[in-house]
Structures are given as structure tokens and as C-alpha cells.
């Protein structure tokens, strides 16, 4: 059975292996250079205290590659579900060969066990290799990323560490199960894609924020968490502040909400919507004439008692979250596996 599985699967496996080898070669060639640029940059910026600027420049330079690689790791499980999972049974049903193979001396339960086990394992392996290679390559960029692309944020979190393996296992079994139910290859592939994408959106939007209670805290306003300071010249010099989804001292965190609150603790504005604060825009530190004064202006606003109220998941939750989420997908995978065994014995001819 293992031989037959391998014989039918080796083409797809070889193609994926070629792709992974190319990817790893590319990452291995460019990774060390990226890392050394980062270390020399850090050494240089530490002297003149300009590391924030260096981070921004450095990340900006490689943002395209960074995003593309993360997207690749996120997309790989979907591909595995689509091209390995969904056709696994529909191809047999469409060619009628299920009648050939299921009437040999092995039961169809065993047939499914070997198919799911072997190909599932390769799928998880592929996701593991791809995920860890990208995680390794992205290390310098993860340390210097914009707050919107911190390691805990949805786009990046799902493309790092061990969760890609969970996604791959789940997507594969999902494809097999949908294939069994739909019985035709193309509709099964389309449905697998739709369901998997929906789940991948639902997870960070609905489930992941509640895996642990988020940290809620207030912070003084600073360059880290204030995105914009506007002074309206004709409106009597009203000063408006826009808040960024970033928390001082918590780089890499996933900020769920970030708001400006007034001295009484009332929320003035949520997110980057600029909100007026009662400081003078015509004289004093916030006046446009006082040029190098961003810090002074924010100091004046802080002195009035204005603060940022943020709720977030800090970076040190990265590994707990990775394990919990991988566990959730493992349970889903086992559930679908159980269902597929039940269905293949009971309902499928």
C-alpha cells in the first residue's frame, strides 16, 4: 500500500521538492547577507541613537520580499489542500479506479490510512521546511518591522514557527474530506479553497484574539504611538493627534485596539482618526513655528493628562499562541480524519 501511495504521489512530491529546494537555495544565498547588513546597521546606529530610523529604512528596503515570503508560507497549505487533498479520492472516483483498488486484499480503511498518513506527513513536512526557512530568513526583518507587520500580527504570525504545519495538515485533510463529499475534482478544489480561506480569515479575526485575555494598559504619548500631529492654521490653531496601533516598549506586539483618552479616562478617538486636544496651536511647543518640537508638543499633551489606551498581545506570547493554535488545528484535523474514515466505510461506494 505504501508502495502504491508513493507510486501515485511521487510526481507531485517531486514537484514540491524542487520548489522547496529552489526556495531554500534562494533564502540561503540571500539570508546571511541580510543578517550581516542588519548587524552592521545596528552597530552603526547605536553610536548616534538613530536606530528607529535605521529600522524603518532597512525594513522598507526589504518589505516586498518580506511580504511575499510570508504570503507564500500562508498560501502553501491552501495549495496542498487543493492539489493533494481534494483530488485524492475524487480522482479515483472519476476514473472508477476506486473499484479496482478497493477490491484488492486491503480494506478501504487501510487504504485511506496509508494515503492520509503518508501524504499528510509529507504535507506537514513541506510546510515545516518552508515555514522555518522563511522564519530564519526573516529574523532581522522581524526585529525591525513596522508595528503593522509585527511578529504577532495576523499576516506574519501565521507564516512563522510551527502553525504552518497545523494549517497544512488541516488543509490536506479538509481537501480529502470535501473530495469525498463532493465526489468531483474541480468543485471539490473550489470548495476546499473557499472553506480554507474562510477559516484562515475567521481564525485571526474571531478566535485568536481570545486565546488569552489581551493586555490593556495606558501609555504616555510618544513618537512610537502617535502617528500624526496636525495643526490647523485657519481654525484657530486646533491641534489634532492621530494614534498608531503600536505600544511603546512592545515591538512585535499585536495591537487589537489603540485609542486616545482624555484626563478623565474618556475615549476621545479610536485608531488613527485625528482628534483635537486642548493645547494651543498658535504659540507654545505645538505651534508650527517651533520647529524641532514634536517631543515638546507631545510632552505638553501628556502634561494635560492625555494618554494612549491600548489593548494588545505582547510578543512574549508568540510561542504560547503558536502552540495553542497548532493544537486547535491538530484537533480539527483529527476530527475531519475521524469523519473521513467513518464516511469511507459507511457511505462511499
Amino acid at each position: 500500500m505504501i508502495w502504491l501511495t508513493w507510486r501515485q504521489f511521487r510526481g507531485a512530491a517531486a514537484m514540491t521538492a524542487v520548489f522547496l529546494v529552489l526556495l531554500i537555495a534562494l533564502l540561503a544565498l540571500t539570508g546571511p547577507d541580510l543578517a550581516s547588513r542588519y548587524t552592521t546597521g545596528i552597530a552603526a546606529c547605536a553610536l548616534d541613537d538613530g536606530c528607529d530610523r535605521f529600522f524603518d529604512l532597512f525594513f522598507d528596503q526589504f518589505q516586498l520580499q518580506f511580504t511575499a515570503l510570508s504570503a507564500l508560507v500562508l498560501a502553501l497549505p491552501a495549495f496542498l489542500g487543493l492539489f493533494w487533498g481534494a483530488p485524492l479520492i475524487t480522482r479515483e472516483l472519476e476514473a472508477g479506479t476506486h473499484l479496482l483498488v478497493w477490491s484488492q486484499g486491503v480494506t478501504r480503511g487501510r487504504w485511506l490510512a496509508v494515503k492520509l498518513g503518508l501524504i499528510g506527513l509529507v504535507a506537514v513536512g513541506a510546510a515545516c521546511v518552508c515555514g522555518f526557512a522563511v522564519t530564519w530568513w526573516s529574523q532581522p526583518l522581524d526585529r525591525s518591522a513596522f508595528p503593522e507587520l509585527g511578529q504577532m500580527t495576523p499576516l506574519v504570525f501565521g507564516a512563522r514557527g510551527i502553525v504552518p504545519m497545523g494549517y497544512a495538515a488541516f488543509a490536506f485533510v479538509l481537501g480529502v474530506t470535501i473530495g469525498m463529499l463532493v465526489r468531483r475534482t474541480l468543485p471539490a478544489m473550489a470548495l476546499t479553497l473557499a472553506v480554507f480561506v474562510a477559516i484562515q480569515f475567521a481564525m485571526p479575526m474571531l478566535v485568536r484574539p481570545h486565546l488569552m485575555p489581551p493586555v490593556t494598559s495606558t501609555h504616555e504619548l510618544s513618537r512610537t504611538n502617535v502617528g500624526s500631529i496636525n495643526v490647523q492654521r485657519d481654525g484657530g490653531g486646533t491641534v489634532r493627534l492621530g494614534i498608531k496601533p503600536a505600544v511603546p516598549g512592545q515591538s512585535g506586539a499585536w495591537v487589537l485596539s489603540s485609542a486616545l483618552i482624555d484626563p478623565s479616562g474618556k475615549v476621545v478617538s479610536v485608531g488613527d482618526e485625528p482628534a483635537p486636544v486642548p493645547v494651543s496651536g498658535t504659540s507654545g511647543p505645538c505651534a508650527p513655528q517651533a520647529q524641532p518640537s514634536q517631543e515638546n508638543c507631545l510632552g505638553a499633551v501628556n502634561a494635560l493628562g492625555y494618554r494612549q489606551l491600548a489593548s494588545y498581545h505582547p510578543l512574549d506570547r508568540f510561542w504560547p499562541f503558536q502552540w495553542i493554535e497548532t493544537g486547535i488545528y491538530a484537533v480539527l484535523t483529527l476530527g475531519l480524519t475521524w469523519f473521513s474514515f467513518w464516511w469511507i466505510r459507511r457511505r462511499l461506494s
Binding site: L4, L99, Q104, G105, S349
Partner: protein, 293 residues
């Protein structure tokens, strides 16, 4: 001896449609059984149930004395249209058979492929319909089954390939002792190979028995017009045709027909099957149509 195939009130439903209903059969071992019936009569369903590919919705089926799923290693199954893996070579298929079956006659399989003049390295996609059927038959035979089930194996073959396939099957049954169940919607295919006949129409078994016995007990009577109720009690009327002055009956009887008014002639297997099919029970579907009209 345990019967090779035994069914009690067997039925299979797909959604609301019954593909097979109240099927009760008992086939003794050691026969080449022809399962004949029109398309859609439930032949494929019955054979899939017998090979463990389907679970019955009602009733009970036993193959070689056990449940089909448990007797799978002893049953060879060649499905309709003889499916094989298009991307695999003939040698790959034989290797698959060797890997997936406890009892596998590799020598026989290899020799059979060589006898057919097939190159083991050819991919199944490149085989003709007849060659593909032969490959599927080889896979079924090399399993050394106690029962070989073939579902319409020759339906899509040209006459020459048809004859070669059946020839191969006959040689195999002559060489080894195993039972065969073979379905077809054409009696002519079965006539040469079968010694047991099962006629399935509208999911009901109309007649089952050894071909010799069936042919010996069925007669065609032709003579002056006579009403069916005036036939003797020992003569079961299978079909009747009347013109103004003449009647033609197909009857089943254990006794000799002595009435001198009749011209008695023997039936061919095909005549016999057709006589039963004409008599097909008035099914629900049919009456519904009548009412609708």
C-alpha cells in the same frame, strides 16, 4: 458446501430510489454464473454489494459464507468498464496486485501478460479497450480468488476482443476451480461461458438455475389458439402470444409435453431469457406512466 452467493431480501437505496429490492438468491459453488438483465435492472448494484463495495440498505448478503467486507481477500472483482490506473504501467499494476494481496500468483500474472503479447512497460493509458480489460482480468485472476466477479466486462469491447476476453476467462476457469459471476445485458455473451443463469429485471430475480436444466424444462409450444387457463396444471406459462387462430406459449414443466395438438420446440438461451423479460412484472414505475398518460 457453502453457497458462493446468498442473499435474503437484499435491497439498496440511493436517496429515495431503490436500485435493488427484495432480492433473494442462492448460488451454489463451482459455477460460471451469468447475470443477465436489461440496463438499469440492478446488476451492477448487486455485484457491488457482493464485492463489498456497497453496504446493503436492507436485507442480508453472504459471499462464500461470510460478509462481503470480510471475504474481500477471497473475491476478485473486475468492475464495469474495467478501470485501471492510466498513469501506471502494466508492470506497476502487477506490482500493486502483489503488494495489496496476501495470495498473489506473480508468475501466472506475468505469463498471462506475456501470452497476450503486452509490453509490461506500457502505460495503461495507451492500451486499447480489449487490452485494458485483459489487464483487469489478469489482476482479478492472479489474486487466486475463490469467486471472481465481473461486471459487464465485455460491454464496451469489439466482437474480436470480446471473444478473446471470454476465451481467456474460460481457459482460466478450466485450469483452476473457482466460481465466476459475470453480468451482461447480452445473452449471446454469456451463452458460450455460463452454466448457471440468473435473470434480473427491475431489481427482481425472475429465474435462476443451471443452464442445462433450464433448457431441458422450458419448451415452446405452437398450435391452435388456446386460452392460458386451459393449460394443464403442471405447465407454468412464461409467455404467451396469440394470433386469431394460433397460440405460441413458452412454458416451464418438469414433465414431457404429450398433447399432440402442440408442436414442441426447444428454446435457445436467448429465447428463454427474452420470454422471461416479456413477462416482466408490472412495476410501480410503469403503472405511474400509464396513469399519467
Amino acid at each position: 458446501m457453502t453457497p458462493v452467493l446468498q442473499a435474503q431480501g437484499l435491497g439498496k437505496r440511493y436517496g429515495r430510489r431503490w436500485a435493488l429490492r427484495e432480492c433473494t438468491i442462492d448460488i451454489p459453488t463451482g459455477h460460471v454464473v451469468g447475470l443477465v438483465g436489461p440496463n438499469g435492472a440492478g446488476k451492477t448494484t448487486l455485484l457491488k454489494l457482493a464485492s463489498g463495495q456497497l453496504e446493503p440498505s436492507e436485507g442480508d448478503i453472504k459471499v462464500l459464507g461470510g460478509r462481503p467486507a470480510s471475504t474481500l481477500p477471497k473475491v476478485g472483482f473486475v468492475a464495469q468498464d474495467t478501470p485501471v490506473y492510466a498513469g501506471l504501467t502494466i508492470a506497476d499494476h502487477l506490482r500493486m496486485g502483489a503488494r495489496l494481496n496476501q495470495k498473489w500468483d506473480a508468475t501466472m500474472a506475468r505469463e498471462r501478460i506475456a501470452q497476450l503479447g503486452l509490453d509490461p512497460n506500457r502505460r495503461a493509458r495507451k492500451l486499447s479497450g480489449g487490452e485494458r480489460a485483459q489487464l483487469a482480468l489478469t489482476l482479478g485472476l492472479a489474486k487466486r480468488p475463490e469467486l471472481l466477479i465481473l461486471d459487464e466486462p465485455v460491454a464496451s469491447l469489439d466482437p474480436l476482443a470480446r471473444r478473446e476476453f471470454l476465451q481467456g476467462l474460460m481457459e482460466a476457469t478450466a485450469a483452476d476451480e473457482f466460481s465466476v459471476v459475470l453480468s451482461s445485458h447480452l445473452v449471446a455473451d454469456l451463452e458460450r461461458v455460463c452454466d448457471f443463469l440468473l435473470v434480473l429485471v427491475d431489481s427482481t430475480v425472475l429465474v435462476a438455475g443451471e443452464v442445462e436444466t433450464l433448457l431441458a424444462t422450458h419448451h415452446r409450444l405452437t398450435g391452435p389458439r388456446r386460452d392460458p387457463d386451459r393449460m394443464p396444471a403442471g405447465q407454468q406459462v412464461i409467455s404467451a402470444r396469440h394470433t386469431d387462430r394460433q397460440s405460441t406459449y413458452v412454458i416451464r414443466t418438469e414433465e414431457a409435453v404429450l398433447d399432440p395438438a402442440w408442436a414442441v420446440s426447444r428454446l435457445t438461451l436467448e429465447d428463454l431469457v427474452l420470454a422471461y423479460m416479456e413477462r416482466r412484472p408490472v412495476s410501480g414505475r410503469r403503472t405511474d406512466l400509464e396513469v399519467l398518460r
